[in-house]
C-alpha cells in the first residue's frame, strides 16, 4: 500500500501527468489552446515508431523464447474475452442498450497505446526491465475485441454477421495504420538490434519523454473537450463502469501474466494493456460496423474517464500489484 501511494505520488507529479492535467484544465476552461491535427498525428506516428522499435531491440538483445508466442496467444484471448466481461458489467451497472454496450465493451477489450507508452516510461524511470515483445502483444490485442463486440451486438437481432462479413472491414482493422507501424517498427528493431538503435537513438530515445508530454497535453485537451460536449450523456452508472472496469481488466491481465511467467515489468504492462481502452482503432471500426452506437458514449468513457484514471492511479496501482505478485 505504501508502495502504491509513493508510486502514485511521484507519478502524479511527473511532467507527463501534469501536462495531461494542463490540457484537461485548459479545455474545461474553454481556452482555445489546441494542437493542429497534423501535429497530433505526427506525434502519434512518432510514439508508435519509437515504442515499436525499442521493443524490437529489446527482443534482439534478450532473445525471444517460446514465451513470445504464448504471450501473443494470451493477448488475443484477453482481447476477445474482456469485452464479454465488460458487457456483463456494463449491463449490470447501467441500463445501457445492447448496441451501445457492445460498442463500449469492444473498446475495453482492445488497448490504448499511449497508456502503454506512459507505463513504459514509468518502468524505465524506475529501472524496471520488461520483455521487449510486449509491444507485439499490444498490437495483437488491438483487433480481436472488435469481433467480440460485433458478436455481442448481433445477438440482439442486428445482423452484425453480415456487417462483419462486409468486404474491406477486416482488412481495414487488421492493417490499420497503428498496428502496421507498431509491428513494422518492432520487426525492424528486432532485425537491426542494438546497431540500429545506435543509429536512431538520437531521435527515438532522447526526445521521447518530451514528445510524450506534449502528446499528453493534446490528449488532455481532447478528453476535456469530449467531457464538456457530452455532459449528461453518461450517467453515474456509466462513470462507475469507467473506473471499475480497468482494475477488473487488470486482474485478468494479472492472471494471464502469472501463467505466462512474465517479469515484474512485463506483468505490469500486460495489466495496463488489459485495463486500458482503445480510442483509435475501435472507434473507427464501430463507426463503420455499428453506426447506430452513440460515439459520445464510448469516446467519453474511453478517453474522458478510463484514460485519465489509468494514467494517474491505474498505472501505479498495477505496478505495485505486479511487484507484489512477482515478489519484485
Amino acid at each position: 500500500m505504501d508502495t502504491i501511494l509513493s508510486i502514485a505520488a511521484s507519478n502524479l507529479l511527473s511532467p507527463l501527468i501534469l501536462f495531461f492535467v494542463l490540457g484537461l484544465a485548459a479545455s474545461l476552461a474553454r481556452s482555445d489552446l489546441s494542437v493542429p491535427e497534423a501535429v497530433a498525428k505526427g506525434m502519434s506516428l512518432y510514439l508508435l515508431f519509437a515504442i515499436g522499435f525499442k521493443g524490437g531491440v529489446g527482443v534482439a538483445e534478450n532473445g525471444a523464447s517460446a514465451a513470445l508466442g504464448m504471450a501473443l496467444i494470451a493477448g488475443v484471448v484477453l482481447s476477445a474475452a474482456l469485452p464479454l466481461v465488460a458487457f456483463v458489467l456494463l449491463r449490470g451497472i447501467t441500463g445501457m442498450g445492447r448496441t451501445d454496450a457492445a460498442a463500449v465493451a469492444g473498446h475495453y477489450g482492445s488497448i490504448s497505446i499511449v497508456t502503454f507508452v506512459a507505463a513504459s516510461a514509468v518502468l524505465a524511470e524506475r529501472g524496471i526491465a520488461h520483455e521487449g515483445y510486449m509491444v507485439a502483444v499490444a498490437a495483437a490485442m488491438e483487433a480481436p475485441a472488435i469481433l467480440s463486440a460485433l458478436w455481442l451486438a448481433s445477438r440482439g437481432g442486428r445482423d452484425a454477421a453480415t456487417t462483419a462479413a462486409e468486404p474491406g472491414l477486416w482488412r481495414e482493422i487488421m492493417l490499420n495504420g497503428s498496428i502496421v507501424l507498431l509491428l513494422g517498427s518492432f520487426l525492424i528493431g528486432w532485425v537491426t538490434g542494438p546497431d540500429g538503435m545506435a543509429e536512431i537513438s538520437g531521435f527515438i530515445v532522447d526526445p521521447f519523454k518530451g514528445v510524450l508530454a506534449l502528446f499528453l497535453l493534446d490528449m488532455g485537451l481532447i478528453a476535456g473537450r469530449g467531457l464538456r460536449e457530452s455532459r449528461g450523456v453518461l450517467g453515474p452508472g456509466a462513470l462507475l463502469f469507467g473506473v471499475v472496469m480497468p482494475p477488473v481488466g487488470a486482474a485478468f491481465g494479472l492472471a494471464a501474466g502469472l501463467l505466462l511467467g512474465l517479469s515484474t515489468g512485463g506483468l505490469a504492462l500486460l495489466m495496463v494493456l488489459s485495463a486500458s481502452a482503445s480510442y483509435i482503432a475501435v472507434p473507427a471500426a464501430m463507426r463503420v460496423a455499428l453506426p447506430e452506437a452513440n460515439p459520445s458514449i464510448y469516446l467519453t468513457l474511453s478517453l474522458g474517464v478510463t484514460f485519465p484514471f489509468n494514467l494517474t492511479l491505474g498505472i501505479p496501482l498495477y505496478l505495485a500489484v505486479a511487484s507484489a505478485a512477482t515478489g519484485g
Binding site: E37, K41, G168, N176, P283, A284, R287, V288, P291
Partner: protein, 103 residues
C-alpha cells in the same frame, strides 16, 4: 462561353466511410469527384472539431461530384446506400459546366 447543364452533388460524410462512398460512386458510373477536408461541424449528433484529433473516427469529409443531369438518380441511389445508416448530408444543386464532354 459554351456552358452545359449539370448537377453538383455535395455529400458530407464521415471520413471512415469515404472509401466506401467513392467505391459505390464509381460502381454507379460516376467519372470524377473531388474531396474537400472538413474542419468541424454540428448536427443532431453534436458538435465536433478536427483539432488535435488522432482518431480516425473523428472527422468528416465532403465529396463533391459534378455529373450530367441524367446520371443523377443512379448516383443518389449509390450514395444513399452508403449514407443510409450513417450520419451525413446529401445536397444537390443545379449548375453549369465548361467542357461538358468530361462528365
Amino acid at each position: 462561353m459554351d456552358m452545359h447543364e449539370a448537377k453538383r452533388v455535395e455529400i458530407t460524410i464521415e471520413a471512415v466511410m469515404q472509401k466506401r462512398l467513392t467505391d459505390a460512386l464509381k460502381a454507379a458510373g460516376v467519372s470524377g469527384y473531388t474531396i474537400l477536408p472538413v474542419r468541424g461541424g454540428s448536427g443532431r449528433s453534436g458538435e465536433w472539431s478536427r483539432e488535435g484529433q488522432v482518431s480516425r473516427a473523428g472527422g468528416m469529409v465532403q465529396v463533391v461530384c459534378i455529373i450530367r443531369p441524367d446520371r443523377l438518380d443512379p448516383l443518389l441511389e449509390a450514395a444513399f446506400s452508403v449514407v443510409e445508416r450513417h450520419i451525413g448530408v446529401v445536397c444537390v444543386t443545379d449548375c453549369n459546366v465548361l467542357r461538358a464532354e468530361r462528365f
